[in-house]
């Protein structure tokens, strides 16, 4: 197990280099970011040249990449076009997004799995159909519609919550955005759990457990659920990264200045430093989440072992 983890940690290095290089090239391919810096007019050539020099854009791409990576290892992630250090941006954006992601994951785990278990045990019953329809609404209505509607209803019509999140972004203000963010994933988790439960319900170890006279709750939680969670855990593990980096719509609706927003802005303004910096951190999150998921397989299904 220890050796396995070490091996996986070593494997992170090429992935890290590959992913950052890929992103670096992609932002570069997008074209000349300086063209967008002078408003509705041509940058005069001299200023454009100066700006390119300031952001290091006049060098060949490979050298830009090496310089950048060299700086990253000394903790210097460069500066955004508005003169702000990228590390400063990260320091404000990541805590907010981590809180938001935690809430979203919590919803997925608690609500998603609970609904999945209930529907899996009661396949074909009204509760199953009801949840199916609910899932369907969630999947087919785009996030921005769900978000806008809830914001309007809860925030303005009924006045239960603040429609936007204040700059500190405390946990309680993030509950609704977290739910909106989790909504589509919630549907996945529910359906995955349901299918898995329904499938494993008839498996022999569950029959055995029932035959042994174990209490129903214990059978469901210890035997049935535990073995059904592998696809769910896989999904959630992969989802963490998506939730952190892809919350663009949700963050926009609720005015949250998190990772999704910064990344989106960076991409639109073609700011290599911001984009690569944020993606670098996200890649690390992905990799660690995947490792944890793979290790969880062994915990959930004792038959899976790691050398």
């Amino acid at each position: 197990m220890g050796r396995y983890v070490v091996r996986r940690l070593i494997q992170m290095v090429p992935v890290f280099v590959g992913a950052t290089l890929l992103i670096f090239l992609m932002v570069n391919v997008m074209g000349d970011p300086v063209a967008g810096l002078c408003g509705e007019r041509r940058c005069d050539p001299a200023t454009a040249a100066r700006l390119e020099q300031e952001f290091g854009l006049d060098e060949p791409v490979w050298r830009q990449y090496l310089t950048y990576m060299g700086n990253v290892f000394t903790g210097d992630f460069g500066t955004a076009f508005n003169g702000q250090e990228v590390t400063e941006l990260m320091a404000t954006a990541f805590p907010v997004t981590i809180r938001l992601t935690l809430i979203a994951i919590l919803f997925e785990v608690v609500v998603g799995i609970a609904l999945g278990v209930v529907t899996g045990l009661r396949r074909g019953r009204p509760v199953d159909t009801g949840v199916l329809l609910f899932t369907l609404v969630v999947v087919s209505v785009p996030t921005f519609v769900t978000g806008l509607l809830l914001q309007l209803l809860l925030g303005v019509e009924w006045g239960w919550i603040r429609p936007s999140v204040s700059s500190g972004a405390p946990f309680d203000e993030l509950i609704l955005p977290g739910l909106v963010l989790a909504s589509v994933s919630l549907a996945y988790v529910t359906r995955l759990t349901r299918t898995s439960i329904a499938e494993n319900r008839r498996s022999d170890y569950v029959r055995t457990a029932v035959a042994k006279g174990l209490p129903h709750r214990r059978v469901v939680v210890r035997h049935l659920l535990r073995n059904s969670l592998i696809p769910v855990v896989t999904f959630i593990g992969a989802d963490i990264g998506f939730l952190m980096g892809g919350a663009i719509v949700t963050e926009r609706i609720f005015n949250i200045h998190g990772v999704g927003y910064q990344l989106y802005q960076g991409i639109l303004r073609q700011n290599t430093q911001t984009v690569v910096g944020f993606v670098t951190v996200l890649v690390l999150v992905f990799l660690v989440a995947n490792l944890v998921v793979d290790l969880l397989y062994a915990v959930l299904d004792p038959r899976i072992r790691y050398a």
Binding site: G31, C38, E40, G83, Q151, H257
Partner: protein, 541 residues
């Protein structure tokens, strides 16, 4: 800040028995001078240096923190002396500026002639990468401090000379009679020594000479401005301060306004315009601003630059039902354009309603005829290119295309052509890769007719995106700039504008209004001709 309000009410309630009259008097007597309002804001694109800010959001802050030699009247847009005691010239080329006595920066430093000259030299110098450097391009010596390419050969503009503590002279490279009227632009603001001595600290918390002080600034989320009690100017703030909150989406700001979390939202999203009256009642404002939307043509593409293509261009203009689009899509927050300037200039300033005449009216049959006579649309169809990332242009571009299609009875005559990012959009313009019509918006820098024509249509000008070139137009603009008599100058500019019309150099679409909505706490909300709220006049409570 909301907490403070509650506390104040509580105090009034407790003290009601003793001094009810005092509380009421203060509440009804035109607001609480100490109360702070919250207002929507967008994250400025560049560092908040005066010569580096070329968009409205940064401009909002500069307008609160700085006062320049001139200031544009919030209502009429007229350039009035602010820090300037007088600006004298005999030849429209050499100007002597005298700065008023008694002005200081909020850190106590006196505002002198040097505060201006140093600031302008800084703004013009290539080394400092100021996006608005070209504003100093009229001043003699600009070529040396900011050459087109290569290294600069001088650090300071040779045309600027400090001649006394409060006087300096400006020599221009050529005659420019209305030069003093351009000095209200933010780029010409004075700067304190602190700006040069500890630049990083200054950028983190700007210090200026305007009615507000920057109290705290969290980049990307909020800036708190407070009234500067010792402000020496005549336009002292009538409220305690402004908290500018960054919103990434105007719709969220509007929602916050409805929910009572925000006091002032400018830029009401188009989708909400229909609801504004029912949501806000009278707490809504929609006034003309110096913004004109046009469609430009790529004159470097021969298909658009051959004999007869002016007929095609005019025909396209006549195929656009401006009134219906402004009524429906924009809910009358834009007005169909009938010239190439803006109503905020006023008749004396050069705005002439109807100068475009029939060419800007919806005449589908005439449009069809003209396009046929002009040789038809190049390739049988046109595209309208726009950037999809900012400004929600998609709707009106679709509407314009539908209008053209309906007028020409061809469902495929016009298609929208979105480009992913603003930088890519600008890049294609700069690299001359446009093949059809493209969006061209112009927000005036200062309320002069010159600003609506020269930067956009003069040969080689910085915003002449379509590369239109016309000798007669250039000649008229040159003559107008040298004309010392304002009325005559305006007349010459209008003649130049007629040249633009006759060639349909760009299709004028509509004048854009500024819009704002506010909470019940506020009164006296106004927008200036730049569509920026006049914060210092707002009363709270």
């Amino acid at each position: 800040m909301r907490g403070a309000t509650h506390a104040r009410r509580a105090v009034c309630a407790v003290a009601a028995v003793l001094a009810a009259a005092a509380c009421e008097a203060e509440a009804s007597g035109g607001g609480d001078a100490g109360a702070v309002l919250s207002a929507s804001w967008g994250d400025p694109q560049n560092p908040l240096e005066p010569a580096n800010t070329n968009e409205v959001q940064g401009g909002k802050v500069l307008d609160m923190v700085f006062r320049g030699l001139k200031r544009y009247d919030p209502v009429t847009g007229e350039a009035k002396d602010m820090l300037a005691e007088r600006i004298e010239t005999s030849d429209s080329r050499n100007f002597t500026v005298t700065v008023k006595d008694g002005w200081t920066f909020s850190n106590g430093e006196k505002v002198t002639a040097r505060s201006f000259v140093d600031a302008w030299n800084y703004g013009a110098s290539l080394r400092n990468n100021q996006r608005n450097a070209y504003f100093f391009g009229y001043i003699k010596g600009y070529d040396q401090v900011h050459p087109e390419e290569g290294e600069q050969t001088a650090d300071t503009l040779s045309g600027l000379k400090v001649t006394g503590e409060r006087t300096f002279t400006v020599e221009l490279a050529q005659k420019f009679s209305t030069f003093p009227d351009t000095l209200g632009y933010n780029a010409f603001a004075p700067l304190p020594r602190a700006f040069f001595d500890d630049h990083d600290a200054w950028v983190r918390k700007p210090v200026g000479n305007g009615p507000y002080l920057v109290d705290s600034y969290t980049r990307g989320s909020q800036m708190s401005l407070r009234t500067w009690n010792d402000y020496p100017g005549p336009d002292k703030a009538r409220n305690g301060g402004v908290d500018l909150k960054v919103y990434t989406d105007a719709n969220t700001a509007y929602t916050d306004l409805m929910a009572g979390n925000l006091d002032l939202a400018d830029d009401i999203p188009a989708a909400q315009l229909k609801n504004v009256r029912s949501d806000l009642g009278d707490r809504y404002l929609n006034t003309p601003a110096g913004i004109l939307q046009t469609l430009a043509f790529p004159y470097y593409d021969d298909a658009w630059n051959k004999p007869g293509s002016e007929k095609v261009r005019t025909g396209l203009s006549m195929a656009i039902d401006r009134k219906q689009i402004t009524d429906t899509i924009f809910q009358r927050t834009r007005t169909p354009a009938t010239d190439w300037t803006s109503p905020v200039l006023g008749e004396d300033g050069g705005y002439r309603a109807g100068l475009c005449g029939d060419a800007c009216a919806y005449r589908p049959d005439e449009a069809k005829r003209l396009i046929r006579e002009g040789g038809g649309l190049p390739g049988g169809k046109v595209t309208i290119t726009f950037n999809a990332d900012t400004g929600s242009h998609r709707e009106w571009v679709n509407a314009v295309c539908n209008s053209i299609n309906n007028a020409l009875d061809d469902e495929h005559a016009c298609t929208a052509d979105p480009v992913g990012t603003f930088a890519d959009f600008r890049g294609r313009i700069t690299d001359r890769k446009m093949t059809g019509l493209f969006r061209a918006g112009w927000q005036m820098d200062y309320p002069l007719i010159q600003n609506f024509l020269q930067p956009l249509y003069y040969t080689g000008a910085s915003s002449n995106d379509g590369m239109w070139s016309n000798e007669r137009f250039d000649g008229l603009v040159d003559r107008a700039n040298q004309e010392t008599d304002d009325a005559k100058a305006v007349g010459l500019f209008q003649q130049a504008e007629e040249v633009v019309r006759d060639d349909m150099a760009a299709i004028p679409l509509w004048y854009q209004n500024g819009s704002a909505g506010w909470s019940e706490r506020l009164s006296d909300v106004r927008l200036n001709p730049f569509s920026v709220p006049v914060y210092d006049q707002i009363k709270v409570g």
